[in-house]
Symmetry: C2
Subunit: 432 residues, 2 copies
C-alpha cells in the first residue's frame, strides 16, 4: 500500500526475492510507469534494474484498485506517507484511510505490516481498531499485525534494505515471528524482535531524533564558534579522534521526508502523555532557523563586498535537501531562496539532479557556469559530489569581480575562497 520512496523499493525487493507482489497506489502515473517496468526514483542506485526485471518476470505489478490484491494477500505492507501539517501536527490521514481500505478487504489469517513512521501507540490505538471494526475480525487472533519501520536512507535504499537490521514489533507473538521470518528470508537482513509495535515505532523515532538533535547541536556550536572566531569544522574533525564522539556537521538546515517531521510524532505523543520532550523540540527550532542564518551570512558577505542583497544577482548551487538525491522535500534551501527573493535578489539555481526542471517555480540552469555568470554572490546549498572540487579561481572569473561566496555545506575552504578573491562566509567558519 503506497509506491513512494519506501513502498516502491520494498515492493520491488519482495518481488525480486520471489514473492508475488502487487503495489497499490492512488496515483495513476505511478501505477502506469511501474507496470511499464519504469522506475520513478532516479536517485536510487540499482532500483531501476530490479523493477525492470521483476515486472518482466511478472512478479511485480501495480494497480489503483486495492480490493483484489488485499483480499488475496498473505502480507499487507503499509508504506504510506506520514507528514506534518502547517501547524506541525502529525497528519495520519493516509494511515487512517489505508487502514480502512485494508480492513475492508482483509483476508482471515493474513498479517498487516506497518512500515510507515508513526508515533508510539498509533498502531495499537488507531490502526488496530480500524482494522478490527472494518474487518469484523480480531487482531492477534484472526489476523496478524506488526510494526516493521523502514530504516533506510534515501539515495541508498536498495543497499540499506538488504543490510540494515529490521526492527519487528508484533501486536501478538506470532506476528513478530512471522514478520521477522519474512524480512530475514526476503531481504537477507537480521531482525531485532521487540516487545510490541509501539516499541518498534519508538526505535525508529529515537534513532532519527538522535540525528536531528545532534545536527542541531552541531549548528548550535557553529553559531557560537562563528562569534568566538573558532572554526567549527576544525573543532568537530578534531573531536572525531576521540573514541566516544560521533561527528555531525552544521549546515543550512535539515530537510527530507523524515527528520523535519519525525520529532513532531513524538512531541505529539509527549503532549498527550503530559511529558513534552524539550530538547527534541528545541533542536527542531534550531535546525529550522538555519536557512535564516545562511541569509544573514549572505548579507554579511555581500556587505563586505560593498553590495546589498537587494539587486544582487545570487547563484544558489544545490537545491536538494541532501547530497546526491533528487529530492527537495522540505529542503532548507527553499527558505534561503524565498528569503533572498523577498529581499530583492535576482536568484539563479543550479543543481545537477534537476537540470532543466522547475524548482521553487524557477527553471534550474543546465550548467553551473550559467548560474554563476555575473553573480554578486554564490551560495552552496547542498554538498553534491559535483561541488566537492569547485574550481574557485575559475568561478571567480565567471562571477562579478569581488563577488561574495557563502558556503552553507562545508565544500570549500575559507582560505581557498579568499585566495580566489571572494568575500567569504560559511556556516560555522572563520571568515578567512
Amino acid at each position: 500500500m503506497g509506491l513512494g520512496r519506501v513502498g516502491l523499493p520494498t515492493a520491488a525487493l519482495f518481488a525480486k526475492a520471489g514473492a508475488k507482489v502487487t503495489g497499490v497506489d492512488v496515483m495513476r502515473e505511478v501505477v502506469e510507469e511501474t507496470n511499464a517496468g519504469k522506475c520513478r526514483l532516479k536517485d536510487e542506485p540499482g532500483l531501476a534494474q530490479i523493477i525492470r526485471e521483476t515486472v518482466k518476470a511478472g512478479t511485480l505489478r501495480a494497480t489503483l484498485t486495492p480490493e483484489g490484491p488485499v483480499s488475496s494477500a498473505d502480507f499487507v505492507v503499509m508504506c504510506v506517507p506520514t507528514p506534518v501539517d502547517e501547524t506541525k501536527s502529525p497528519d495520519y490521514s493516509s494511515i487512517d484511510k489505508v487502514s480502512h481500505t485494508v480492513g475492508r478487504f482483509l483476508k482471515r489469517g493474513s498479517v498487516v505490516i506497518v512500515e510507515s513512521t508513526v508515533g508510539p501507540g498509533i498502531v495499537e490505538e488507531m490502526v488496530l481498531p480500524i482494522l478490527e471494526s472494518e474487518s469484523g475480525q480480531k487482531g492477534g487472533e484472526d489476523f496478524g499485525l506488526a510494526s516493521c519501520p523502514e530504516r533506510s536512507d534515501p539515495g541508498n535504499i536498495v543497499k540499506n534494505m538488504s543490510s540494515v537490521p529490521r526492527i519487528v514489533g508484533g501486536y501478538d507473538a506470532v506476528s513478530t515471528v512471522l514478520v521477522a521470518a519474512l524480512y530475514e528470508s526476503a531481504f537477507g537482513v537480521k531482525t531485532i524482535k521487540v516487545s510490541d509495535p509501539k516499541t518498534a515505532n519508538a526505535v525508529k523515532l529515537t534513532e532519527n531524533l538522535f540525528r536531528d538533535v545532534n545536527i542541531a547541536l552541531a549548528n548550535e556550536f557553529a553559531l557560537l564558534y562563528e562569534k568566538l572566531g573558532v572554526d567549527a569544522i576544525e573543532v568537530i574533525n578534531a573531536c572525531a579522534t576521540k573514541y566516544n564522539f560521533m561527528p555531525h556537521y552544521p549546515g543550512a538546515g535539515v530537510g527530507g521526508p523524515c527528520l523535519p517531521s519525525n520529532s513532531y510524532y513524538l512531541i505529539s505523543e509527549g503532549v498527550r502523555a503530559g511529558n513534552i520532550p524539550y530538547i527534541i523540540r528545541l533542536a527542531r527550532e534550531i535546525n529550522d532557523r538555519m536557512p535564516d542564518h545562511v541569509v544573514e551570512l549572505v548579507g554579511e558577505a555581500l556587505n563586505e563586498a560593498g553590495r546589498t542583497i537587494r539587486e544582487s544577482r545570487i547563484a544558489i548551487l544545490g537545491v536538494a535537501y541532501k547530497p546526491n538525491v533528487k529530492d527537495v522535500q522540505l529542503t532548507p534551501v527553499e527558505r534561503v531562496f524565498s528569503r533572498l527573493k523577498e529581499m530583492g535578489a535576482q536568484v539563479q539555481l543550479y543543481d545537477p539532479m534537476f537540470k532543466g526542471e522547475r524548482v521553487f517555480g524557477l527553471l534550474v540552469r543546465d550548467k553551473l557556469e550559467d548560474a554563476v555568470r555575473n553573480a554578486d554572490c554564490i551560495v552552496v546549498g547542498t554538498a553534491h559530489n559535483e561541488f566537492k572540487n569547485l574550481d574557485l579561481r575559475r568561478l571567480s572569473k565567471i562571477a562579478k569581480k569581488g563577488a561574495a561566496f557563502v558556503d552553507a555545506r562545508n565544500v570549500v575552504t575559507a582560505a581557498g575562497a579568499v585566495q580566489a578573491g571572494f568575500a567569504f562566509r560559511g556556516v560555522g567558519r572563520r571568515p578567512r
Copy 2:
C-alpha cells in the same frame, strides 16, 4: 602545577618517559604521599606502580614550593581544577593564581602548557596577559604557550593518556610543534594540531558536551517512554543496530569533575558573545533534575508496596558518580540521598569503593547485606561491576517482605526484580 586526578598521572607518565618531573601542589599531604612513592588515586589501574618506580628512580618528586621547579623548567604544565561556583559560573581562580605564580618565575625560552579545561579564549585573554605582565616577557617570542587539554576518562587515565590522541593548539606556531613533539615522544600518542589555544579548548568542550547532551537526550526519552509504557533501554539497544546511531543510556544524572561543569564554561563565553547555547543549557537542566526523578520513582515503588518514604528504611547501593571509580565529586546520588533524608527516610549506604569511609556524612557499610537488611526499598545509584549480577532472590529475603526496588542504572531486569517479589521501578523502564 597541580597533582590531582589529571596532574598526578601526567607527572608520573612524563617521569616514566624519562623526563625529570617536579609536581607542585598546595596540599601538604599530597606532596608528602607522592614523595613517599604512594599513590593517592586508588581507582587508576597501573598508576601506583609508575609512581612507586619513578619516585624511587628519582625522576618524580613533589613540592609545595613553585619557585625552583618553575624557574628551571623547560615545560610548565598547568593541571589545576576549573570548577563552577554555586551560581554555575566558571571558577577560574586556580588558573588565575597559578598563572601569576608561573609568570613570576618563568624562565626565558620555556613553554607553558594548559591542560586544564577552560572556555575558548581564556588562555589567550586571561592566562597569556598574566604570564606576560608577571614575567615581563612576550608570549610567542620569549616564552611558548599552548593548550593541550587532557582527554582522559577517570578510572582509565593511564590507559587513555597513552592511547587517545592529544589536541595541541599553540599561541604561536613553534609552541604547537614543540608541545606536539613532547606529547608524541613522552606518551606515544598521535597529536592533532589545531589553529590556536581557543580551538583546542573548544574541542575539549565540544566532545564533552556531546556526551552531556546525548545523556540528557537519553534521559528525555526515558522520562517520556516511562509514560508511554515503552522500555527505553530496549529501544536504545535496538537503535544501536543502526550504522549512524551511538547509544547513550538514561540514569540518575551526571556527575564527576567534567560534564556537570564543562557546559558552563561554554555558556559563559556564549553569554559574553551574545549567543547562548540553548540545547547545552537545557541538557544540563534535564540531567540535573534526574536525581529528583529517582526520588519520585522511590515514592512510586514504595507506594505500590504500601509504604511512604517517611519512616522507610532505604538502602542506596553505589554513591560514586560513575561505575568503578572512587569519586563522589558532584555525584547525583548525593541529591537522591539528601532528598530521601529530608523526606524522613532512614538511609543506609553501600559502595564497594568506599567501605568503612564517611560519605555524605554517613558511614558506608562494609557489606552490601548490612545495608540491605530490613530495607523497605533498595536503590541502585551506581552501576559498579559488583552490582551487575545481584542475586535478587537473596536480597529479597534479606530486605523487608514485599520491599521496593528502584534501579536508576539499568543493572537488573524488571522481570527479575518482580519475580523476586519486589515492587519495581527503574529510570526509563516499564514497571513489570
